[in-house]
């Protein structure tokens, strides 16, 4: 991030306002001189007055006062104009952050019940490693439900993940957490879950790095609308990488192999949960993927910055009020 000085949102206000101010000042001047020409008293021998020390002192004070008044008025007017033109702080931001969307996708079917709490803990560790990314959470059993959509509010994300952890350890108070996940035919419809996750990304027209961390044992128990291969194809079409995280891999397993195929087919990677390098691998892979995308376009962020004009206008106002006080003192 770099600060790029003061810009104005409406620079036209400045020139137009200055023009108007000059015209106004001229009109006031004309009015005053016109009026004084009408009601002027001719006096003779005023040197008797103007040579008095008291007069000279008062005149000096008067001139200082008028100068302060004029300066303050110009300051007030100028600051007001600049304020009206809305000074902006321009920040040029390189979109390194907030450019990645990661959807966490958790299978909560019965076969996964033993692992889910651990998986949520893994997600939390993952989230800790992603700083600035948008992260969402979708859980699925016979149907998929979005726990929270893509967001970069990390306090919220952590809060939701804590809630998920409690719900998944069997806390009855959190039963509502699972609402909406039993609407399909059968349980553990892996393909439907993955398809939902892949379809949960917003701003599809914008090219962003999209990843799904897909935690499942790929243990299908029912008839999904979309099978996992089709879901994999969908991910490929949408440019979404799927990272598989299998908690139940023990040796060569047909389901695991299928998952591995689908995952690698989307340019993602496959990890077993007990693999210590899983988290680091996913994080590195996601960030490596970004490296090709970030340099695209630096964008400018504009934010109103009225502090300086307001302060100057305040000083000007104080000056105007102070200097235009009558000779009361």
């Amino acid at each position: 991030m770099e600060l790029n000085g003061l810009d104005l949102k409406y620079p036209g206000v400045l020139s137009l306002g200055t023009l108007l101010a000059v015209l106004l000042a001229y009109a006031v001047y004309r009015h005053l001189t016109h009026r004084s020409a009408k009601a002027a008293a001719a006096v003779a021998n005023s040197t008797a007055l103007t040579e008095l020390p008291a007069y000279r002192r008062a005149l000096r004070l008067h001139r200082i006062r008028m100068a302060v008044l004029a300066l303050s008025a110009v300051l007030l007017g100028g600051a007001a104009l600049v304020g009206a033109a809305r000074p902006l702080d321009t920040t040029i931001e390189k979109p390194q952050t907030r450019s990645r969307d990661i959807m966490l996708c958790l299978d909560i079917s019965g076969s996964m019940a033993a692992y889910d709490a651990t998986l949520v803990a893994t997600f939390k560790t993952l989230v800790k490693n992603f700083e600035g990314e948008r992260i969402g959470l979708v859980i699925f059993n016979s149907s998929a439900a979005t726990v929270f959509p893509l967001t970069d509010d990390y306090d919220f994300i952590n809060g939701e993940l804590d809630t998920a952890a409690r719900a998944l350890t069997g806390d009855p108070e959190y039963d509502s957490f699972f609402a909406g996940t039993f609407n399909g035919r059968g349980t553990s419809l892996i393909g439907d879950g993955l398809a939902t996750c892949v379809s949960s990304f917003d701003k599809v027209e914008v090219q962003r790095a999209r990843s799904v961390v897909f935690a499942t044992d790929n243990h299908l128990a029912g008839r999904p609308i979309i099978d996992i291969d089709e879901a994999g194809e969908l991910a490929k079409v949408k440019g979404v990488r799927v990272y598989g995280l299998n908690p139940e891999e023990d040796g060569p397993d047909e389901e695991a192999a299928e998952l591995r195929d689908v995952v690698t087919g989307t340019a993602g990677q496959y990890y077993a949960m007990n693999d210590q390098s899983a988290i680091k691998g996913i994080v590195d892979s996601v960030q490596a993927q970004e490296a090709t995308l970030i340099d695209a376009a630096a964008r400018s962020l504009y934010s109103d910055n009225p502090t300086l004009p307001i302060v100057l206008a305040g000083v000007g106002l104080v000056g105007v009020i102070g200097a235009s006080r009558r000779w009361a003192s």
């Binding site: 006096v43 008797a48 007069y55």
Partner: protein, 295 residues
């Protein structure tokens, strides 16, 4: 020409006559500038202001009221109005009128009294750089002409004021004895002028009237005040400053005191005028003092 300047002077006199008898003022003038001869003319009723020694006591004893002897004036007085017509006199006086209005009222009044008395009235007027003299004559029409000449020549575009120029002219050009009515601008009398007064006083009889300037510290704030000499506008807030006002009042009082001292030292009878309404009363007081001074 609806009203002549002299008519205005007379109407002032008429208005004033409700308080003081008009003939009182005439009597005052006559007793100051009596051109008394030994040729007895007739008797008339005494009016206040007449010389007490002119009362014919025998005739009065026979009559119910005091009678005054009237003599045939053999010697006419020559009244010369010496008027400053510089631009300083076109400025404002204390009452808000132009100073020249006061000057015309005063010159007109004394001139009228003189003319009624049968004296000749002339005029020396001018600015710092030039002087114009008018003949001595004894008609009302001539007096009106003189007043008109003062009125038309005293304008804001005229030259600066300097009465010393006119007084010097009188010193150089007048041989005979005159009664000088000097109507002066309100300014410090410098030593050069003092010297001129010393010389003039030997030859002439001098009445001195100062037309006061408006007080710039008393002119309302909704009007601007500028000096006629250089059109410098006095900043309103500065001239209305109470401290400035106070200091100015002190300095004016000081200047008036100095002027008074100077004229008193030269034994010149003088008065200050700030309004044409004061003219009759002030001129009366001036003549009164002049009469006493001559005793």
């Amino acid at each position: 020409m609806t009203t002549t300047l002299l008519t205005r002077v007379k109407s002032k006199l008429f208005v004033h006559a409700r308080r003081k008898s008009r003939s009182l003022l005439e009597g005052e003038y006559a007793s100051v500038f009596h051109g008394r001869s030994l040729d007895y003319d007739d008797l008339r009723d005494y009016v206040p202001g007449d010389e007490v020694r002119d009362i014919d006591w025998r005739a009065t004893a026979r009559h119910q009221a005091p009678l005054v002897k009237r003599y045939v004036a053999t010697r006419k007085q020559n009244l010369m109005l010496v008027i400053d017509t510089g631009r300083g006199m076109a400025a404002t006086t204390r009452s808000g009128e132009p100073k020249k209005a006061v000057a015309i009222a005063a010159a007109g009044l004394v001139g009228y009294l003189a003319q009624r008395h049968g004296d000749l009235v002339g005029l020396v007027r001018g600015t710092a750089s030039s002087t114009v003299a008018h003949d001595l004559r004894g008609t009302e029409a001539h007096l009106e002409l003189l007043l008109r000449a003062i009125d038309t020549s005293t304008v804001l575009g005229a030259e600066q004021s300097n009465l010393a120029t006119q007084l010097r002219w009188v010193v150089r050009n007048v041989r005979r004895r005159l009664v000088l009515l000097v109507v002066a601008d309100d300014r410090e009398l410098d030593p050069a002028l003092d010297e001129l007064l010393r010389r003039l006083h030997v030859q002439h009889e001098i009445l001195w009237l100062t037309v006061e300037d408006a007080d710039p510290t008393a002119i309302d704030g909704d009007r601007t005040a500028y000096d006629v000499a250089d059109t410098y506008t006095l900043p309103t807030l500065v001239r209305l400053d109470p401290k400035v006002r106070q200091a100015y009042a002190v300095s004016v009082a000081e200047r008036v005191r100095r002027t008074t001292e100077l004229l008193d030292r030269r034994a010149i009878n003088h008065a200050r005028l700030g309004s044409s309404d004061e003219v009759v009363g002030t001129v009366f007081g001036l003549l009164e003092r002049q009469r006493r001074a001559r005793r």
